[in-house]
């Protein structure tokens, strides 16, 4: 599975992305977040405040219940602030 981290989540985790193999029993975005947070403080910090964390699975907005598989691309990012700074 391909993971991507953007904006301050990337800064916190210290990686812009990584490849992982999805362990058995991790079948949703929510379960993936729990798994990643268990990897240490930088993940804990980067993926804090779940309600402000946005997730996309294969380029589509997803939520905690969205099912995932090993062939997916999952991106984690903060609420978007595009367009312009008004």
């Amino acid at each position: 599975m391909k993971l991507l981290y953007f904006a301050w989540i990337r800064d916190d985790i210290g990686l812009d992305g990584e490849e992982i193999s999805l362990p058995d029993g991790v079948k949703t975005v929510g379960e993936l977040i729990i798994l990643l947070k268990s990897r240490g403080e930088s993940y804990e910090r980067g993926l804090r405040a779940s309600e402000e964390l946005k997730v996309a699975v294969n380029l589509e907005y997803a939520n905690l219940d969205t099912p995932i598989s090993d062939s997916d691309e999952v991106a984690f990012f903060p609420p978007v602030t595009g367009g312009k700074n008004d």
Partner: protein, 152 residues
């Protein structure tokens, strides 16, 4: 049409390319978003726009398609820059061309509102002494809600 680019754009040239061959366009509404310097004690040095290229493109295509389903448009154009910009730089350009001006105004505002909340862009402001990620504003979500009400 969607363009994601580092380079600046020229509004007149983009408009004339878009309009060439559309003789039945009565009006074009455009929006240009600029890097804004806030009234703060500290001057803004730069604004860096990061994005998620494949998803941004997909979202912008979706937003444009929705606008074309809701209103009668002859053409539309969304240009969004990324990378490092300075105050007063152009960030985004949205243009909608229609036979009728209300369709042009409504669709342009719709695209800008959706773009602000759906397109995966993040902004990092650089000041003399610090760097700061811009946080999302709830007023952007509010701006979207008015379109939901229109839809219902």
């Amino acid at each position: 049409m969607i363009k994601l680019q580092v380079e600046d754009f020229d509004v007149s040239r983009e408009l004339s390319v878009m309009l060439s061959g559309h003789k039945q366009v009565g009006g074009v509404c455009t929006f240009v978003g600029l890097v804004r310097e806030y009234d703060s004690s500290e001057p803004l040095n730069s604004l860096t726009l990061e994005h998620y290229p494949e998803m941004t493109k997909k979202e912008l295509i979706k937003i444009e398609k929705q606008a074309k389903e809701k209103w009668t448009l002859k053409d539309s154009l969304i240009i969004h820059r990324y990378g490092r910009l300075v105050p007063s730089d152009q960030i985004v350009f949205v243009a909608t061309a229609s036979a009728h001006r209300s369709d042009a105004f409504n669709s342009c505002e719709y695209i800008v509102d959706y773009l602000k909340t759906r397109a995966p862009f993040w902004k990092k402001e650089e000041y003399k002494s610090r760097v700061k990620w811009v946080e999302a504003r709830s007023s952007d979500e509010d701006a979207l809600n008015k379109w939901e009400e229109v839809a219902n």
